[in-house]
């Protein structure tokens, strides 16, 4: 009968806590910077559009693992010393901003042109046009994709192990090595991931159906 001691369970719980924390950091940072990326992508100014497109291309076109490496080992080479957790926070934020930026860019451009024309005709300025009219509609239709990315991000945080983070996956590895119960420990870790990801996925799918039925 496989079993774990209180120490191992605490250790896994610590790892779980870090996984959740890294996900939250990446997602919150990604929301703020992703919004900037999306707005840059649909800006009037060509240079802004290009810069945002470049940002998206770089972070969508390279593995998250490499992005973590570059920040963790690259920034110190430039003379910027970053702690492991700051490096991971920066890398996850940049990564999430590119993906969320692209998701929201698509949603913004999916809003009928008549919405911004009516806003212009009423004399509304950029800020009101974006924050009162376009973004509320765009964020709503992009919610399923946004939640889908959140799930990806949560799973992606396991890569933070590479720069020394003991998040859930790495904690599982360590406990497994100590207790010689790989099947049981990784099974448990898998169940924990599933319990976080599946409700999110389910919620995202529910929202998708609801959106397709809601006339608003």
């Amino acid at each position: 009968m496989p079993h774990l001691g209180i120490n191992e369970i605490t250790f896994l719980a610590q790892g779980l806590k870090w996984t959740l924390f890294l996900t939250a950091i990446g997602f919150c940072g990604g929301i703020v910077f992703g919004l900037l990326v999306a707005l840059g992508r649909v800006a009037q100014n060509r240079a802004l559009r290009m810069a945002a497109a470049g940002w998206i291309a770089v972070f969508q076109g390279t593995p998250l693992l490499m992005q973590l490496f570059v920040v963790f080992f690259g920034l110190p080479l430039l003379g910027v010393n970053v702690s492991a957790w700051l490096a991971v926070a920066i890398a996850l934020t940049a990564h999430a901003s590119a993906f969320l930026g692209e998701i929201w860019r698509g949603a913004i451009q999916a809003i009928p042109k008549g919405q911004s024309e009516a806003s212009h005709a009423l004399g509304l300025h950029y800020r009101s046009r974006m924050f009162d009219i376009i973004l509320p509609q765009a964020l709503k239709i992009s919610l399923p994709a946004t939640v889908g990315f959140l799930v990806q991000l949560l799973k992606g945080t396991s890569l933070a192990a590479i720069v020394g983070f003991i998040e859930l996956t790495r904690a599982g590895q360590i406990v497994s090595n100590q207790t010689y119960q790989p099947l049981f420990v990784f099974g448990l870790v898998g169940v924990l991931y599933f319990m976080m990801c599946w409700p999110l996925s389910y919620w995202g799918r529910r929202m998708e159906t609801r959106l397709s039925q809601d006339p608003r």
Binding site: P112, A121, L122, G123, H125, D132, I133, P215, R216
Partner: protein, 247 residues
Amino acid sequence: MDDILIRMEHVEKWYGGFHALKDVNLTVRRGEKIVLCGPSGSGKSTLIRCINHLETIKSGRITVDGTALTDSPQAVDMVRREVGMCFQQFNLFPHKTVLENCMLAPMRVRKLTREAAEATARKYLDRVRIGNQADKYPAQLSGGQQQRVAIARALCMEPKAMLFDEPTSALDPEMVKEVLDTMIGLAHDGMTMICVTHEMGFARQVADRVIFMAEGEIIEEGEPNAFFRNPRHERTRAFLGEILAHH
């Protein structure tokens, strides 16, 4: 005060290599009602969209209430504050209630307080006879009701002129009348109006002048009776024959 509210002089508009407006000259007096008609693609929408700077012109001059409409943000702001517009597709904000649709611009642009904006919104919603639907969302209303809300939304900015771009073309036939009646009411209250429409009954009833466009040019204009009874140009006659046959 200048009697001319809107003046277009030698306006030229190009979409890339396509010449959409050719030497358009038009003056609209305060309180005047103009109906703009012509075949599809003749530039009617383009013409009225130039007036509130939804389209930029290549050359020529547009003046609204004494302000020259340049590309400067101040001029554009001023003109959009004074000129309201209704679209064929209504373009109501679907995520806001009828009341919120009407309150937004007065609060953001005219800087009214929430209370004042709500009072204004309710006044104009009552005026288009839709006050009892104020808390509904646009999708819960019929097309005719949505277009009346769109009219009320524009009126809440208390504009000096209203532009209508085929406001009844997207409506089921039984809803056309309620929108036209609203527009007729507005006309009787003295609003300056430029209406792109093929509703010739409406033109006869309220227009001071009917303007016919084809291929980006104003071909002919006149007081409605004369315009309908003996159009001077062959193209006008052909066009009128066609639309009157359909009605």
